[in-house]
């Protein structure tokens, strides 16, 4: 596989703060590469160094064989950018924004084609201000694709959107990849990374703490299954804890049990039944990327 982006020992300091602290990774052609981590982890700083919008303190970056700062002008012809919380003037119409950005590039995709792709065809004459949150993000996607880029950067594309709009965005990210592009997706939404990304870099305090496919990352943590339920009398916890191969955490009346196999599930239900214990909201789940993050950093990611 051919690396499209290579980053070596990238560091970005703001005063004494190391926002990005010695990060190295490669992104391969046509993959969706996720960067996840909590607020302030350095995700945006990292991708904006790749886009040439920020100057690294040290380290080396190659994007499509170009150095983002020195060859910025050439590189920007080839990449597409969506900025975190980036907006457009209130009174610009959708199609005007597309025509404006199309005029910047030596080659561009026809506006109608792009609008159709992101589902904004009937909004072409609407002001940016009058679009819904999801429609604004659709426009950002269209503008990021206007030059038919080889690499696209999405930074918090779905933050603040409702689940339905979020799913629509996911479809667009997938189709961007299917169109042969390489996608860098920054998010703090673990489910999004797990569903969309081929590989994920987990970033915390400026460092990459894990980098692999979502499946491998999940496999790497032990704990297997996760059982959650609530009880009225938490006294039962002591008995449940004695089940072999079970790790129990109780907070108030909510009980979480991590275990390796389904046999434990049967045991738990048996003990609850034998003790006539009232329980509700009983769920059994496999671990997700969310749990990987928790187990590696010891922190919950926001949301």
């Amino acid at each position: 596989m051919r690396p499209v982006i290579t980053v070596k020992d990238l560091t970005k300091k703001y005063g004494s703060l190391r926002a990005v602290d010695g990060v190295s990774f490669a992104v391969y052609e046509n993959e969706i590469f996720g960067i996840v981590g909590p607020n302030g982890a350095g995700k945006t700083t990292t991708v904006e160094c790749l886009e040439g919008l920020r100057v690294p303190s040290s380290g080396s970056i190659r994007v499509l064989g170009l150095e983002p700062k020195a060859d910025g002008y050439k590189l920007r012809q080839l990449i597409g950018i969506q900025l975190q919380e980036g907006k457009f003037p209130d009174r610009i119409k959708v199609k005007e924004a597309l025509e404006l950005f199309a005029s910047f590039y030596s080659r561009s995709v026809p506006a109608g084609h792009l609008l159709e792709k992101v589902g904004l065809l009937d909004k072409a004459d609407d002001y940016f201000d009058n679009l819904s949150g999801g429609q604004k993000q659709r426009l950002s996607i269209a503008l990021a694709l206007v030059n038919d880029p080889q690499v696209v950067f999405f930074d918090e594309l779905t933050t603040g959107l409702d689940p339905q709009a979020r799913r629509a965005m996911w479809g667009m990210v997938r189709s961007t990849r299917e169109a042969g592009k390489t996608v860098i997706l920054v998010t703090h939404f673990m489910e999004e990374a797990e569903r969309l990304c081929d590989r994920v870099a987990i970033v915390d305090q400026g460092k990459i703490v894990a980098l692999d496919t979502p499946a491998n990352l999940i496999r790497s943590i032990d704990g297997g299954l996760r059982i959650n339920f609530s009880v009225n009398d938490s006294g039962i916890a002591a008995q449940l804890e004695s089940i072999e191969g079970c790790r129990l955490t109780a907070s108030n009346r909510d009980i979480t049990i991590q275990c390796a196999d389904y046999r434990v599930v049967g045991e738990v239900i048996r003990i609850l039944g034998e003790n006539d214990c009232d329980f509700h909201d009983f769920t059994v789940s496999k671990p997700a990327l969310e749990d990987v993050f928790l187990s590696i950093t010891g922190k919950e990611i926001r949301e």
Binding site: I81, L83, K87, P89, I92, Y105
Partner: protein, 248 residues
């Protein structure tokens, strides 16, 4: 040629956006005309010869339009575009900063020119104003006044982070500037101490001086002092802007 296409598209888009901005339209078209009629009908003594007074009033109101673009229009646009990260988004495209800033400048210049066309048409049609000097040197000086004022007030978006701060700074600057530089009140009617210690330090003063004298027929060659001062203001403004301008 691509640079040219980018420049045209940015300029025309910016002009359209200006056209959809009620406050900008008010300051460019309504306010100066309102002020023209107020001055001619109410502020000046009843026995003053209107056909003479109008030729003092017209050029100073032109400076009013230029100054409101330079002090309110351009800084506000920049601060709000920066806040929504539109400037950064432009910078992430293959457009050079010179193209971006140049197109903002040209769009604002065209808007100002339209406002002035309306003002001059009314001043000529209603009160018989007429340009006594050379139209070419007047137009060239007009461009100079626009550029130097637009450049020097670029410090506002450099120091103001939010729209509210920008408006506050603009307001603090705008009204005293208009009163002490001969726009609202002729310089010779201001107290001596203002005329010697305040007016000479306001760049707008030289804009009013230059345009008023040219309009009244003073030859361009006699106004080199004003021209050089405004050129100096332009250079200073550009240097400060280049050093302090923030894209995000």
């Amino acid at each position: 040629m691509m640079v040219f296409r980018q420049f045209i598209k940015l300029t025309s888009t910016e002009l359209r956006l200006f056209w959809r901005e009620p406050i900008a339209l008010f300051f460019t078209f309504i306010f100066p005309v309102f002020f023209l009629f107020m001055t001619m009908e109410i502020f000046i003594p009843a026995d003053a010869p209107k056909e003479i007074v109008i030729n003092y009033v017209t050029p100073s109101l032109m400076v009013l339009i230029i100054a409101s673009t330079a002090i309110y229009g351009v800084p506000m646009t920049i601060v709000s575009y920066r806040k929504i990260k539109f400037l950064k988004r432009l910078k992430g495209s293959p457009v050079t900063p010179i193209i971006i800033m140049g197109s903002f400048g040209l769009a604002n210049f065209i808007a100002t020119l339209l406002g002035i066309a309306l003002l001059v048409a009314l001043a000529m049609g209603v009160y018989g104003a007429s340009l006594a000097g050379s139209p070419v040197s007047f137009l060239a000086s007009f461009v100079l006044v626009f550029l130097s004022l637009a450049a020097i007030f670029l410090f506002i978006p450099a120091v103001a982070r939010s729209e509210r701060t920008a408006i506050a700074i603009s307001q603090i600057i705008f009204f005293p500037m208009m009163f002490f530089s001969g726009v609202f009140i002729p310089l010779d009617r201001l107290p001596d101490w203002i005329r010697s210690y305040i007016s000479p330090f306001l760049p707008v003063t030289y804009g009013v001086e230059l345009l008023q004298r040219l309009w009244l027929g003073t030859p361009f060659d006699d106004l080199t002092r004003e021209v050089f001062i405004l050129l100096g203001v332009l250079c200073l403004g550009l240097v400060i802007a280049a050093r302090t301008f923030r894209w995000e």
